[in-house]
Subunit: 490 residues, 2 copies
Amino acid sequence: MTVKIEKPKMLPPKNDFGEWYNEVIRMAEIVDTTYPVKGFQTWLSYGWMIRNKVFNILRKFLKDTGHEEYYFPLLIPDNLFSLEKETAKGFEGEVYWVTKGGINPLAVKLAIRPTSEIPIYLMFSKWIRSYANLPLKVWQLVNTVRYETKATKPLIRVREITSFKEAHTAHASKEDALKQVDEAVNIYKKLFETLGIPYIISRRPDYDKFPGAEYSIAFDTVFPDGRTLQIGTVHYHGQRFAKSFDIKFLDSNGETNYAYTTCYGLSERVIASLIAVHGDDHGLKLPPDIAPLQVIIIPITSGKESDNLILEYSNKIAEKLSGEFTVKVDNRDLRPGKKYYEWELKGVPVRIEIGLKEVESNTVTVFRRDNFNKINVKTDNLLEEVQKLMNEIIENMKSDADKNFKSKIYQSEVFFSFTEQDAVSILIDEETGEFKGGIVEVPVCDNVKCELQISNYLTVLGEPLEHRNIKGKCICGRKAVKIIRVSKQY
Amino acid sequence: MTVKIEKPKMLPPKNDFGEWYNEVIRMAEIVDTTYPVKGFQTWLSYGWMIRNKVFNILRKFLKDTGHEEYYFPLLIPDNLFSLEKETAKGFEGEVYWVTKGGINPLAVKLAIRPTSEIPIYLMFSKWIRSYANLPLKVWQLVNTVRYETKATKPLIRVREITSFKEAHTAHASKEDALKQVDEAVNIYKKLFETLGIPYIISRRPDYDKFPGAEYSIAFDTVFPDGRTLQIGTVHYHGQRFAKSFDIKFLDSNGETNYAYTTCYGLSERVIASLIAVHGDDHGLKLPPDIAPLQVIIIPITSGKESDNLILEYSNKIAEKLSGEFTVKVDNRDLRPGKKYYEWELKGVPVRIEIGLKEVESNTVTVFRRDNFNKINVKTDNLLEEVQKLMNEIIENMKSDADKNFKSKIYQSEVFFSFTEQDAVSILIDEETGEFKGGIVEVPVCDNVKCELQISNYLTVLGEPLEHRNIKGKCICGRKAVKIIRVSKQY
């Protein structure tokens, strides 16, 4: 299951998050970052299995809600690319352009998709004729590239997004499209809840919405270093793209109308979050449903004759569990401690230790990766006990993550002034004086200039979707009329 | 399950293969070919499901033989691209070059992968240190692009290969690498046999091997129009790529040595073959293991009160089968004949027709897509009967395809002369005077000039892998020493 990559002796502590993150994805064999083009990574086998597990869960949720999986072309001709002016402008600095085919220049340059609105809406305009074709709900899981100018970080800010899940839908009415936005939000909620990734949902400010959207809703999580990461977005387009791409249909009254479209996307940032939110000083902690290996069995041999008994017993235990779980017996010629270290690093949820004591008492010792508890279990109950444990593990992981997340959402009644120091100070721990990060909810007035002033220093994540009673004053001194969330963002 | 695409009244007969193929992939909703860039297609949901079924079968075979799934970067910098001179030269006319990022020219132009030897062997050189790291067997399923100058044809000759499965392996000895070539050949055999796609295996001539390989083995099938299609290749690289990319390891004696590498690939041509080999005048015929929908149930209602009984009964039958099969009740308000037509077009292996007669006799009428037989089955035995039928269907499909394929492999004792007319005449039916196509095995001498002369008119597929007793004379008049296979190739 592993490529032997040279390893340092120790994983840095998670407190030192930047270092920890880079090392854990390397040591646990998620991605290799040494490819000599900035922002392009190689997924290693173990990482790719985790990636596939996550997207297969999402695939099921999408199927259950009537989405159909398609695959749209990688390259977009320049003339199509500029059809939707807002999108073209929004992506102008980020597009990789293909200008040569073989040894000759191309007559029309081709964009590598930074996202697929254009090919998808072009096809929609060919497919949609009448209201009977609607709703049309398609999605794809593809690679996209963006010429990212900021510093890249594996799985977080990359130039090749290897795992871009984008869904696009068209509807006969605004009402239907808005319902679709709700459905999309619910699908993402369900995904993040399944993975135990806490989130907060905000309506992004108009000046930060998807280029071409009427509005954008985003999911953000908080990383251990206090910075936030956008992990999913849902966009309502109204009829804008339908008008740019001529997506028209005959409604039930025989009138021609433009369709209403929505889209929603997420990427390998979900995997980054899974790693960052749950991991600890020992390495990854994987939810049982995501773990490529759920149970690792370590025979504690001692070089004596009884070793055969132990190995035989270990294999029997593996067989007993293998109908329900992915199980492996690690019988490599290494010290148990070294094996523990490796499988903890890889986040295997349950470890079973088997020595002569266990064989003789017809029991096994079960270790939980999430809280390091060890219990002795009779083999007769083993299957049920492990099943129970797996449920406890994900519940415990969720509860830990949620508690941690909630402690990082603050309310502030007022922003005192406009200076960078004051703005950032609301993310500073008053007692220790250290950057605590997280998300602060602050009251502002309805003048966008005040928000923009704040956004010079902090990222404005946007407004809560739900109604709030507003207290406090805006930085301008006027009465606040809404809440905005601010953070230091990845 | 469908996007409503405008349809002509009738599928052309399969005899008119070119037309039939283009129409069947459109009407059965495999791909949409109207994207305005030559050679770039959109996979529709139904086609993509078939594609996923096929590659999931292959995924299992690869896993069972110790291959690990990775994902390597899409873009390759120019300086790396030219490291392996043979490969660079071989692909020089086919590479799409990215020269602009955002609004600026790139310092180093980037190739979109036409295949991934380069990124993969680059990473191998970082990962492989000692014989303990070997064998290393990786694979990926990715999109690649090639600036194809010949006429494109959907799923057969495309510019975006959306589904390129490439496996790459490194070994400590030539012997191990050659064993790997055998394993690869066996995996592909197993895949094609599972799909009922007949094949012939040839060792490609040296002048037509993969650029950089020591030798190439290829799988070819024969299409209904008599032309052959290469559907899979296996390459032995010796130490060539290891030397270009510095893939060295310490062997068990402490000596440094270059690794031996192999690679093998196939693509969506497998889906093209599945369609072309099995389909008929009614549309697709899908092997049950590949069919997204395995059983379609059609209630034969008549607008009477008894319709409720029929629908209820249909749903009960669906439920009975749904544990084992993918089943759907088609209760749309359409004539049964129209429904038959649609699901036959889509290749659903089994159709169940339920009218009042069936309800009253506690039976169902079962229709087989492969041979159009209808039988009446008691519902008590239904599950077992349908399971039996599914086995019979794939066996019958295989046997039909094999019989057809074998009838298209001919032996010829001599090539009379060098003219195009004579060369091609061996693919002409003597009685009817029509192009029959297929593969002809002809004897040649050991002078490559003779082969090259033949290859001016016909594709030389190469030699059989197994030993043959050679009779006859070469075109040059000398005694033949080997057999080569020739065809008109896609």
